[in-house]
């Protein structure tokens, strides 16, 4: 059976790929996707812990409920985030994050 550590490493790699995407990509939609990926990677850790911490072969469902909540929040976030992206596109005719620099000036 796979040890917990491997699940955690998998989750960490997925998270760091998401982080790299957030840093590297300019397209704000892709950046947003990477953010979702990071949330999902965190969920993997939670589920793995839930299983590993289980008592007598029954996982700890607290962690899974938290993961479910994260999914729900992610959904809400996506709704709002994409609305923001649409609004931004309307205002700037672009989804490049480099155009979002009006704070600088």
């Amino acid at each position: 059976m796979t040890p917990l550590a491997h699940y955690l490493i998998f989750s960490g790699i997925l998270f760091s790929i998401g982080l790299a995407g957030v840093i590297i990509r300019k397209n704000i939609i892709v950046v947003f996707m990477c953010l979702e990926m990071m949330l999902s990677a965190a969920n993997i850790s939670l589920v793995a812990f839930s299983r590993a911490q289980g008592v007598n072969g029954v996982p700890v469902y607290d962690a899974q409920v938290l993961a479910l909540f994260i999914v729900a929040i992610a959904a809400a976030e996506v709704a709002i985030g994409l609305a923001l992206i649409v609004a931004m596109f309307r205002a700037r005719k672009s989804v490049e994050s480099s155009t979002l620099n009006s704070l600088k000036d």
Partner: protein, 617 residues
């Protein structure tokens, strides 16, 4: 309790000044009356003291107590010896008369009357402080206070630019002298170990002459400023912008004499041995130079008050010269007689000015002898005293100085005699032009006798101008212990001074006739112009000293301002802030990826701390 009555000399005018200023600024009549009453009261008190009403030593109040051993604790006490009380007689006596005269003189300026009389009262307080001070620190306080009240009163009509400038000039010029004075006080403290007049005596013997010389000359600097000696004499003629009674009281009779009084007080306290030869020669030379220069400048002045101002300078030069010749009693005698007759001259001039509708130019007067005979008579009494006609008070005191000069150093005797001739010349010129002949201007044509508040002080002063030199008055009232007016003796000084008197009178009558001329026959040549322009000393000060100081000062300030404050502090900080801001704004670059990057770095650091530095449970 009763021995503290002398404090009234100080407190009464001070309280009255405060009340005038604070409570009666809207009722000028009340303020003026109150002020005059306080002057009369101090005068009465002074007379009582002079008549032997001794009450014992006034209490000494410790002002700045010091617990440390070896430190001097400053105290405030009064001396009521003969020198002080007789000087007080001059101050309060002339002060009272000037107060009364001012009631008439300032009638047209009722709105500022409270301020004026409050200023006079402050002056009375300050001058009394100088006279009665029992130590140099207290003298210095009074010294500065008279400077302040003089500033207030010269600038009484501060709406006039010239008055405001004159007040400023007087104040600033005095600062130069006061700087030396305070150094002198500190030197005295260091050298003598005390600044109390009572404790100074006999300590001069063991001190190096060079140190003593420096100390005395530094103290003398204060007198140079306050008594308007060369080279700090420039403020006194300008101070004539103030009301004429103020000129009479402050800039002729009392305040400018404070320097002489202070020097004499030092001579009495320190003992004659403290005044080294170098110091004495310096003092006498400064006095002589002032006497000559001022007399020369007075020759070509047209403003009646300025003639008197230069005459005051010249006479102060006499007094300082006498102090330098170690003839303190002669100096005080001249101070005493001069105070009366110069106050008389100024008040007379004030009455003439008022009656001629504020006309001060003697060439626009003329024929006044017919229109206001009483005033002119009083003025003439003062003039006779000033030019030392035998029998008038000035004659005796001038004779005393000349005597002392001849005994000590004949050079100064001849200088004194020359100045006496010049004095006679310019005073005769003034009288001939202003009083004889026909009126040359509208104001003089309409002049008529002044009112009683002005005439009465004039008459009182005229009487004093005549009699104050005689032994029966002088021996009792001259502010010097054990003084005896030796009158005059037929001898060389008498003949020489009679000669210079005759020379001056003859020259003046020859040049100006009996008031027939309408312009000055001596005017127009380069010498006259130089004298009119005060021998360019004022211009040199203005252009060279003031201008130079301003230029270099402004350059220094410019440097401090531009380089240090603007460059380093203001712009430096701005630059620093801007650069720091640029640094921060590089972080705050509005780029989403940059923020993500920073957040990523933050996560890594946090993770490093949490996972690798905190020991595992």
């Amino acid at each position: 309790m009763i021995q503290n009555l002398p404090w009234l000399f100080l407190l009464l005018p001070l309280v009255v000044a405060a009340i005038d200023w604070l409570c009666f600024s809207k009722c000028p009549r009340t303020a003026a009356t109150l002020s005059t009453l306080s002057a009369v009261a101090t005068f009465a008190l002074c007379v009582a003291y002079l008549n032997g009403w001794q009450t014992g030593t006034p209490d000494v109040y410790t002002w700045l107590p010091t617990a440390t051993e070896g430190m001097i604790s400053l105290s405030m006490g009064l001396v009521t010896d003969a020198l002080a009380m007789r000087m007080m007689l001059v101050v309060t006596g002339i002060g009272t008369l000037v107060h009364i005269f001012s009631l008439g003189y300032m009638k047209g300026d009722a709105s500022n009357l409270s301020r004026y009389f409050a200023g006079l009262s402050i002056f009375m307080f300050s001058m009394s402080t100088i006279v009665l001070a029992d130590n140099l620190a207290m003298t210095f306080i009074g010294w500065e206070m008279v400077g302040f009240s003089s500033y207030l009163l010269i600038g009484h009509w501060f709406n006039k630019a010239s008055a405001a400038d004159a007040a400023k000039k007087a104040f600033i010029t005095n600062r130069v002298g006061d700087f030396g004075f305070i150094i002198g006080i500190l030197l005295t403290l260091a050298v003598f170990g005390t600044i109390s007049f009572a404790e100074m005596g006999g300590k001069a013997a063991g001190i190096a002459p060079a140190v003593l010389t420096v100390t005395i000359i530094c103290l003398f600097c204060g007198a140079v400023g306050k008594s308007a000696q060369f080279p700090l004499h420039v403020w006194l003629p300008d101070a004539m912008e103030g009301p004429t009674p103020v000129s009479a009281l402050i800039h002729a009779a009392t305040m400018v004499a404070a320097g002489v009084y202070m020097l004499v007080r030092l001579q009495v306290s320190m003992g004659a041995e403290a005044f080294t030869e170098t110091a004495c020669i310096t003092i006498a030379s400064v006095g002589a130079i002032t006497a000559v220069l001022a007399a020369l400048m007075a020759l070509q002045q047209d403003d009646i008050k300025r003639v008197l101002a230069y005459s005051t300078l010249s006479q102060l030069g006499y007094m300082v010269m006498a102090v330098g010749l170690m003839a303190g009693e002669a100096a005080m005698f001249h101070l005493y007689t001069h105070a009366w007759f110069k106050a008389l001259l100024f008040l007379g001039a004030g009455a003439i000015i008022i009656c001629c509708h504020h006309e001060q130019d003697i060439w626009k007067m003329g024929g006044l002898a017919k229109r206001m005979p009483l005033t002119v008579l009083c003025f003439l009494m003062g003039t006779f005293a000033l030019i030392a006609i035998p029998g008038f008070s000035g004659f005796f005191s001038k004779e005393a100085i000349l005597h002392a000069a001849l005994e000590t150093c004949p050079v100064f005797f001849w200088v004194g005699a020359g100045v006496a001739a010049l004095t006679t010349f310019y005073m005769t010129r003034l009288c001939l032009v202003a009083f004889c002949g026909q009126a040359r201007a509208h104001g003089a044509a309409e002049a008529k006798e002044a009112g009683p508040t002005m005439l009465l002080p004039l008459l009182a002063l005229a009487v004093m101008a005549i009699i104050s030199g005689y032994g029966f008055i002088a021996d009792n009232l001259v502010p010097f212990t054990g003084f005896e007016a030796h009158g005059f003796e037929l001898g060389m000084p008498f003949y020489v001074s009679m000669g210079s008197l005759a020379l001056g009178l003859a020259a003046a009558f020859l040049v100006y006739g009996c008031g027939k001329r309408t312009t000055d026959p001596l005017a127009g040549n380069c010498l006259s112009n130089a004298l009119r322009k005060r021998l360019f000393i004022d211009s040199i000060y203005d252009k060279g000293l003031v201008g130079g100081i301003q230029e270099y000062g402004s350059q220094i300030i410019e440097f401090a301002d531009a380089a240090l404050i603007r460059g380093v502090i203001v712009q430096g900080f701005a630059w620093l802030t801007a650069k720091f801001g640029m640094l921060l704004s590089w972080i705050q670059n509005g780029s989403l990826r940059g923020y993500a990057l920073v957040a990523g770095i933050g996560i890594i650091i946090l993770m490093f701390i949490l996972a690798f530095t905190i020991p595992t449970i």
